[in-house]
């Protein structure tokens, strides 16, 4: 079962205007850089993007925002992007901000065939507007629905042609959840290895969730907040 495609350009075939796409990553950590660059090149427009963050002005999803390719963002935190804030306050960009844990669980639910679940997060806040409230054990919860996407794009450290993925460190974050929730899921990996090289016991994302995989050309892996201690 070989899901390998040649490059990012082949991987994003079929992503069309006005589609919904999910993109893994937390801040700039673990984002599918190669596919984002290719989406900019392809000029696809009117996208609804589900991603925890919206990149920074000149990297990550910020690149798609600059080209006005995004119609709507579904995110939890977008604080590092001036262009985002400008488009949002001017009304050019629709924005649905949702609690981070609910975002994670809604993607997981989407991939797992669970259409809705109750969570305490957001009760009594704007997030609860229009949502059912129900008490469990005396505590209020709101009903949240599953999220799915036409395409999910994830970034992993290692992958094999079956689509099995291993992530490195906190670059894991939303990637395994979104990998499950795409009708078609694309994985870009730093290293594409031979079948059998990944230990089945330590695969993070089983290949069944992945439809296309390729080794990215180049990973810049930009750091947002380089924080160090001085050597003593």
């Amino acid at each position: 079962m070989n899901k390998t495609v040649k490059d990012a350009a082949s991987a994003i075939q079929g992503i069309k205007d006005n589609m919904t796409i999910m993109l893994g990553g937390f801040g700039l950590c673990g984002i599918p850089e190669n596919c984002i660059a290719e989406l900019v090149k392809a000029g696809v427009k009117g996208l609804t993007c589900i991603s925890n963050n919206a990149g920074v002005d000149e990297f990550g999803l910020g690149l798609l925002l600059q080209q006005k390719q995004i119609k709507k963002m579904i995110s939890s935190y977008v604080g590092e992007n001036d262009e985002f804030e400008r488009q949002m306050l001017s009304g050019e960009l629709e924005v649905d901000l949702i609690p981070q844990g609910s975002l994670a669980s809604r993607c997981q639910a989407g991939g797992a065939g669970v259409p809705a679940f109750y969570t305490p997060a957001g009760f009594g806040t704007e997030v609860a507007h229009g949502k059912e409230v129900r008490y469990f054990n005396g505590k209020p919860h709101i009903l949240e629905s599953a999220l799915t996407a036409d395409f999910a794009i994830v970034k992993a450290w290692k992958g094999d042609p079956y689509g099995n993925l291993i992530y490195k460190g906190t670059a894991r974050n939303f990637n395994p959840l979104m990998a499950m929730a795409g009708k078609i899921t694309i994985a870009e990996v730093e290293q594409l290895v031979e079948p059998g090289e990944l230990d089945p016991n330590f695969v993070h994302t089983p290949g069944i969730f992945i439809q296309r995989i390729f080794q990215g050309d180049k990973f810049e892996k930009r750091i947002e907040q380089r924080t160090v201690r001085s050597s003593t």
């Binding site: 804030e85 949002m88 997060a121 009594g124 704007e126 450290w157 460190g169 906190t170 907040q225």
Partner: protein, 217 residues
């Protein structure tokens, strides 16, 4: 009056051996520097890391190891990495013993607002709504008043809420206060701060019982 470090030091006294703790961005992050000697406390960051160690040495930063503030971090022996759903399972499932976060406003009933200023600031709530809705033990770390000198301890929050009736304790540059029965209960004064100073800086209902001791930090 305490500075930010002082607030962090005072909150560090609340830690207990064996606790898992989630620290928000800003003052809460500083708490990791003041863990009492010999106490085992593990830090969780909601982007998917448990057992966070100190910042890396210069040149040893790894873009694949960050905390929820997007800062480069290290992981200690005995730490672990997990996806965002598992991370919030820890939070929502109350496996974390203490959450410390900042706030723009706290109300006398425990409401908290810290994610949005309508028309002006739209950063998003990140994990804060999950954290405050789930944790049994939430401490807010913040300055007692805002930049314009107005109280941040209010009768009702004026900003969009992050969570409802969830804050149990507030530690500010002026005081330690518990929230109980719809009021701030004054527990401790910061060094050099009088009960009157605190009264003047507190808009919400403030209960003062007997002598209010000065903090020892």
């Amino acid at each position: 009056m305490l500075d930010k470090k002082g607030i962090a030091k005072r909150i560090a006294q609340e830690l207990q051996d064996g606790w898992y703790v989630n620290l928000g961005i800003g003052i809460p992050t500083l708490i990791a520097n003041y863990i009492p000697d010999g106490m085992n406390v593990e830090f969780q960051s909601e982007n998917g890391i448990l057992g966070m160690g100190p910042f890396p040495f210069e040149g040893e930063e790894d873009a694949d190891y960050i905390n929820a503030g997007k800062q480069t971090v290290t992981i200690k022996p005995g730490g672990s990495i997990f996806d965002s759903a598992t991370s919030f399972a820890m939070i929502r499932g109350q496996h974390i013993q203490l959450t410390v976060l900042g706030a723009m406003e706290v109300a006398e009933n425990g409401d908290i607002a810290n994610w949005k200023i309508p028309g002006r600031m739209v950063k998003g709530m990140g994990g804060a709504m999950d954290l405050v809705a789930s944790a049994d033990n939430i401490i807010v770390a913040m300055m007692h008043t805002n930049k314009r000198g107005a109280s941040k301890l209010l009768k009702r929050c004026s900003l969009p809420l992050t969570g409802v009736a969830c804050v149990k304790k507030v530690v500010t540059n002026m005081a330690v206060l518990d929230i109980e029965g719809g009021a701030f209960i004054l527990r401790e004064r910061a060094p050099g701060v009088s009960v009157e100073d605190i009264q003047n800086a507190t808009d919400g209902k403030l209960i003062i019982e007997g002598d209010v001791p000065e903090m020892s930090i």
